[in-house]
């Protein structure tokens, strides 16, 4: 059950940034062509680009977090024996959770307090900001699961599959 939810989450977390990148590509290309041949000007262009870029980066960050694929220096953990390495992992997971709590909580505050609308399309700016607490929450869930696994010695289904 958990493995299925994790697989679906992984698919969605990858699909959103892939769709954003494809949309950005088409939008920017259309804009260049339209401007070069003086066909049309898109005044709403910047607003959509900024929104797509934010969703692509922050949801993509959550996808890479799930896959433990962010830049990190892991030679200390790899050079330690099993138990100290596990303790070190516990410490780094706890520290990561501290940052993610701040990112998620203050990100949610920012989203709640953002009442402004974008000047041309009239989109709520909260629609752009919400990607930060959303991404933070997903990363928090995965880090909490990792913490639980380290504390209980329980192997998550994803790790078992790997």
């Amino acid at each position: 059950m958990l493995a299925t939810i994790d697989r679906i989450a992984g698919f969605i977390l990858r699909a959103i940034p892939v769709c954003c990148l494809a949309a950005l590509f088409l939008l920017l290309l259309t804009n260049v062509i339209a401007r070069t041949f003086q066909l049309a000007g898109f005044s709403w262009f910047d607003e959509i680009v900024q929104g797509l870029f934010a969703w692509m980066v922050f949801i993509g960050a959550a996808a890479l977090w799930r896959e433990r694929d962010h830049f990190q220096v892991d030679w200390l953990e790899r050079s330690l024996p099993a138990i100290p390495a596990r303790i070190l992992r516990l410490v780094t997971t706890l520290l990561a959770i501290c940052f993610l709590v701040v990112m998620t909580a203050y990100g949610a505050d920012l989203t709640r307090s953002a009442k402004a609308l974008t000047p041309i399309l009239g989109l709520p700016t909260a629609l752009f900001y919400i990607t930060i607490p959303l991404s933070g929450a997903v990363m928090l869930i995965y880090s909490s699961a990792e913490l639980l696994r380290l504390l209980t010695g329980f192997n998550s289904s994803r790790e078992t599959q790997q």
């Binding site: 590509f25 910047d46 980066v57 993509g60 520290l95 940052f99 701040v102």
Partner: protein
Amino acid sequence: MTTFLILAALVTLIAIGLPVAVSLGLTAVGFYALQGDFRILAMVPQRMFSATTGFTLLAIPFFILAGNLMNTGGITERIFRFADACVGHVRGGLGQVNVLASLFFSGMSGAAVADAAGLGQVELKAMADKGYDPEFSAAITAASSTIGPVFPPSIPFVLYSSITGVSVAKLFLAGVVPGVLMALALMASVWVIAHRRGMPKRHRIDWLEIGRSFLGAALSLLTPVIIIAGIFGGIVTPTEAGVAASAYALILSMFVYREITVRDLPGILWETLQHTIRVMFVIAAAGFFGWLLIHQRVPNQLVSSLIGFSDNPVVIMAIVVAILLVLGMFLEGIAVIVLTVPLFYPVMTQIGVDPVQFGVIMIMCSMVGLLTPPVGMVLFAVSSIAKLSVGRLSKALLPYLAGLCVVLLAVIAFPAVSTWLPNLLLGN
């Protein structure tokens, strides 16, 4: 003292294995939390958002996408074949081809890892088929891939520009001469090694093959022309040039060479995003960390300490370069740039170093870092493709690192190496 504590906390967090982005964010969050100043933490999401959504940074995914499309779309092989026809007859044959192909490839993509992982596979296979020593092949493949981010277009230059406000067009032009010098230095190293080991060489140039392979690669070789002419002709911004290069690579791969289909696109886009988001999440977290540095006047303190230590610009430059090279051994190149540009940029302007020249020095130092253990992205990528231990590959890389360091010294000692071309074409 504050400066030392902030930097020590950051280095410790990175060293214990926390992701670089989280280390940056947590250092800043921890600093304010320990002071009980929780109101400032409301700026964390704001700074993260504004740091990542700048239009210039959008160039990053598209220059990576162009490289990935070329790798999967058959463009890379055609470039390699043309390079082989041009310089395959020189002693060290495919070693020379390896460097020239990387120079051509770097005119289309802006990421060293895209070169090492994509073109590198083609190069290593061709060299293995011809019986080249695996260490020699892997070392020159790794070394030559660092030309990519120096020769335009370049992702690190886009990043440097977004932090400092220096023109991307100027930086791109500033990378041309050092990029070509890097290629020449590596070709000279290959020639010396090939002579010492008595490697065979082809006796004559096959002009027919040059013509044939040029025709095959001509459309691919037009990509840098599109990028350069587009940017410097004022038709497109660097971001749009990345989009145009990706669109051109897509058309070639799908409709001309017919090597990829629509089904391959999600995989190519995801691979592009992996590289992009690793970089962008570091930039996001560095948004708040950078604010902490400025709020605590860390760059100012660093300027006064360095100038207090010595007022000789050469000594200060030597210290900065030494710090960059050492950091490059432990951190990924992009992280080095994000972390150190806000610190060292004011120092450099204070001692009268041209911001464009410092950009090239900065990027070249981070490229050397990509090749040095214990943390070198290109070193790891090539060692995994070539199935060679990092230790053996590092040793084989030494002569090429020496060549690259000579070019780095030339860029430091003679500002004109990097500033002559941008000043000539774009003015001071």
